[in-house]
Amino acid sequence: MSSISNVNNTGINSIIELFERWLKSMKCVRYEGVSGECKTVSLLRKALSGFEVVTSTDGYTASIVKGEALKFDFSGNPNIAKFLYELRTFGLNDQKVVLCRPCDARAIVELCKRNQLEREKLVLIGVYSPESCKRRDYCCVRFSDFDVFLFEVEAESNGKIVLVFMKKYVCEADGKDGKMDVRKVLSRFEELEDARVLEPEEFLKLLKSCIEELERVERLLDSYDGSNSDENLKITSYFERCMKCMGCVYECPICICEDVCMVKGIGRGEVPPPPQFLIFRMLHVADSCVNCGQCDDACCANIPISRIFQKVQRKYWRDTGFVPGINYELSPRMR
């Protein structure tokens, strides 16, 4: 079954349907963390202490790092997908638990599909909190691309709670040969004192109260068509702003051509460079850009590159049926 049919279905019913399917393959834990601290953070801290973990780097996950319980420094890592790629080029290719946001995961998935990373060597723990992401209006995710997903939502009574989804098969993974014992990582989530496994009914009830938020997250192909402030983007005036800082090139998890990147030859010595600079920049990741927004964040000129590009991508996605960054089975058409 092609996942494109899933991709084309949106709306509350299809989301519930998706969740019901996930429920069958996932364990669900409800967790109420220590008050006064971000619950996802405290959850992660407890669950992951002692493991070698690579994390993503926005202010949100960075705050996890600052916890003394974790003995590694997360803050200011390069963006996670690119970093994993770099680690591999440096010959570090052992198994890793990766904390990542949906956007990071899309980049990881796409790099896996293009044989730049090995999916089986990664345990992806998704982290999502409505406040953690500046770009949530543009975010899309397939939760089943993760091994574990931590989802922070607002409950009616007492503020936020964290939902943890786990794939059953991950729990059953083996930890032989001195490799990381994935099962052990995951079982920690269940051992946490405040955690309890929810009954499916209870979970669905909770779920419905979160539908609105979920709709925002589970944005796939069609939902990109919704009109929004994109129409007000003044593309040409953005081109005038470019200071050629190269942030978009170097932070892009998909553009791994670095020193041979064709973009570098355009408008040498010119600030701002000619419009072709940004146009080529987008063109050469035309089929692979996962719209993660790393380029937006790195841009010294605050150019919303990924938002501009999304307009082009929509057309491409619709015409080819290929959406980069989600679903391992969906293979790149442009190869």
Partner: protein
């Protein structure tokens, strides 16, 4: 066993003080922007992007100190080098016939020790490159407001309703500051830029004031006059916080806007529009295009006047923003690497000399020392000790400076690379780079931040070397940054208690916003000064019909010692060019890409023509390229108050070179 290590440190280029994260993987380095650093929050300009290439370049440097023996250099140990330097300094101690050049590229700790060494030898002849960039900021803002520093954090620019940029190509030289300007613009703020050139910054401006170089005072006075005449000034702020307004009123009322408008070449309507805009919540951003004139102090004073009468000092979202060129100009000034100030801006006089003498247990001179240009002009200076500077390329009228360097009895140059200045040296001491040492830098917004070592090396840091020299002189300075910083905390008033705040990233000296509770002047009030427009020292004439101004490009840093060694930056631009307006190029009959000769009273260089949107009658040269040094041409006329040379304006002519 694989090792992955993260080190959070700072970019070594400009005064923004951006954070970088270095990931060391099995001895190789990945450098990326630090997303948790409040200054850059995950952004970096192109120079910072290629820092890994700078690390590569560091592998190619002299491996040990060298002493000149006749025409050749002989390698010696660092200990021997320190001994020789100490001996040469001791010999000249009696008549103070030496000059120290400290460095805005070095840490606070190193600058502190450098000036302390000089002063303990009984002289105040210590200066650094702030003399070439923000000396007028110190002289003007300290008398107008109390402290020669940026009044607000960089982030406040994003909160302003109007940003008035004078003589700064922010989008190329301080992209991280430009980000804030764009954030403000996206909110609807207006950007005004005063610059003779059309460049990346003016392209984004709502109003571009294309003035003649050297006429800032005329322009700013004209704007002030309109503000006063139309009653746009902040009466309440003035009566509460500012002295001298009555005098200022009578001063501006005597000015004639049409005359001033004609002088600076900006239309009256534009001046009036600016007056309206800056009387809102406005941020005044400036750089070398306001300071590098023989009227530099007046220029900064005129801008401060404008900020004061519009009430744009001492609160959030406005203020005066001098953008620092080097990563630690602010710190080097704070540390007193200046001939007229002891650490913490204590003026050099007998009283303060006594105080520092007691602190340091030495005889300290209360007599003002020589400034950098004065050292190069003085016949008394026989020896120089230059740390991390390249005056052979950076000084105005650098041919004259090179003559002085070659005539010195003894010249010690301490740097990471063998620079153009080092070629004149009797003793060259290679030292650790920013990647190989610890310490603190103070960025343009007075934020003290730490750098951390991530490359192991056997090169001593500047601090360790100065400390070694001090031991040969019997002073025994501490040799770790931590010890020196704790001394700084005791000695420099502004740095008291900052040590414990550094790790939070919020260690601003003077607090985030200066003057929110009154000014640091003796009476607690800011002061308005009457500054008349004075023409630059050189005017165009028949023989030299153009006004030559100099500046930088986005891809290189100052004399190119660091940036030109990075391939990707060198690929962008690697040779000098002269920018000429379209009309002038037609008149001269030169086309883009042709090589011309640019000649002034002091020298000549060859450069490729670039036809651009620069003001007619004005030409522009970047000063990064030592093989064709723009500073062979520039004027060394000095601002009487700050001693800054007039790097930004002189008379020049362009000659067509017959093809060879």
């Amino acid at each position: 066993m694989n090792s992955i290590r993260f080190v959070r440190t700072l970019c070594p280029y400009c005064g923004c003080g951006c954070g970088i994260t270095v990931c060391e993987i099995n001895g190789r380095y990945l450098i990326s922007p630090d997303k948790s650093n409040p200054v850059n929050a995950g952004k970096l300009c192109i120079k910072g992007r290629y820092l890994n290439q700078l690390l590569e370049a560091l592998k190619d440097r002299p491996k040990s100190p060298m002493i000149r023996r006749g025409e050749k250099f002989v390698e010696v140990s660092w200990r021997k080098a320190a001994e020789v330097l100490a001996r040469e300094l001791r010999r000249r101690r009696k008549d103070s016939s030496f000059g120290f050049v400290s460095s805005a590229k070095c840490t606070n700790e190193e600058n502190y020790l450098m000036q302390k060494l000089c002063r303990m030898l009984g002289s105040n002849n210590v200066d650094h490159c702030a003399r070439l960039c923000h000396a007028p900021t110190v002289s003007a803002l300290s008398r107008s407001l109390g402290s020669g520093a940026m009044t607000n954090p960089i982030d406040d620019i994003a909160k302003a309703d109007c940003i008035f940029v004078v003589g700064s190509n922010t989008f190329e030289q301080h992209p991280i500051v430009a980000t804030r300007i764009l954030t403000a613009k996206d909110r609807g703020a207006k950007l005004i830029v005063a610059d003779p050139r059309r460049n990346a910054t003016t392209r984004n401006a709502d109003l571009h004031l294309q003035l003649y170089p050297g006429t800032n005072v005329a322009l700013l006075n004209a704007i002030a006059k309109v503000v006063v005449e139309r009653g746009l000034y902040d009466e309440e702020f003035l009566s509460r916080n500012v002295s001298g307004f009555e005098d200022f009123l009578s001063f501006v009322s005597a000015l004639n806007i049409d005359d001033l408008s004609k002088t600076c070449g900006v239309k009256r309507e534009a001046i009036e529009r600016v007056a309206e805009l800056v009387s809102q919540r406005a941020a005044f951003v400036y750089c070398m295009g306001l300071t590098q004139f023989s009227s530099g102090t007046d220029g900064v004073t005129a801008l401060a006047n404008l900020a004061l009468i519009t009430g744009n000092v001492g609160r959030e979202g406005c203020g005066i923003f001098p953008l620092r060129g080097q990563n630690n100009v602010q710190g080097a000034c704070d540390m007193g690497a200046l001939p007229e100030f002891f650490p913490g801006y204590a003026r050099v006089n007998e009283e303060n000399a006594k105080r520092f003498g007691e602190l340091w247990k030495a005889e300290i001179s209360g007599e003002k020392g020589l400034t950098l240009p004065e050292m190069f002009n003085s016949k008394e200076i026989e020896a120089m000790y230059i740390m991390g500077e390249n005056p052979a390329v950076s000084e105005a009228n650098c041919n004259k400076v090179r003559k002085k360097l070659s005539s010195l009895d003894f010249l010690a140059v301490q740097d990471i690379f063998f620079t153009e200045t080092a070629e004149f040296a009797d003793l060259f001491v290679p030292v650790a780079s920013w990647a190989e040492k610890e310490g603190t830098f103070t960025n343009t917004e007075r934020r003290v931040q730490r750098i951390r070592k991530f490359v192991n090396t056997n090169f001593p840091s500047d601090l360790e070397f100065i400390s070694e020299v001090s031991r040969f002189l019997g002073f025994n300075f501490p040799s770790t940054p931590a010890e020196v910083f704790s001394e700084i905390e005791k000695v420099v008033r502004q740095y008291r208690g900052l040590g414990e705040k550094i790790d939070s990233g919020e260690a601003f000296w003077g607090g985030k916003i200066l003057y929110s509770n009154g000014f640091s002047t003796p009476n607690g009030k800011a002061r308005l000064f009457k500054v008349e427009y004075r023409a630059p020292a050189e005017k165009p004439d028949e023989c030299y019909p153009f006004i030559l101004t100099t500046g930088r490009v986005a891809f290189h840093f100052h004399t190119g010692t660091m940036s030109r060694k990075c391939n990707s930056l060198a690929e962008e631009v690697n040779s000098t060019f002269v920018e000429i307006s379209e009309r002038d190029s037609e008149r001269l009959g030169v086309k883009r890409g042709e090589v011309v000769r640019v000649v002034t009273r002091r020298g000549e260089i060859k450069a490729k023509v670039v036809v651009g949107g620069i003001k007619e009658g004005v030409i522009f040269l970047p000063f990064h390229f030592s093989e064709n040094p723009a500073n062979a041409l520039t004027s060394d006329a000095l601002d009487p108050l700050s001693g800054i040379p007039e790097l930004k304006v002189c008379a020049a002519r362009v000659e067509v070179v017959e093809s060879e």
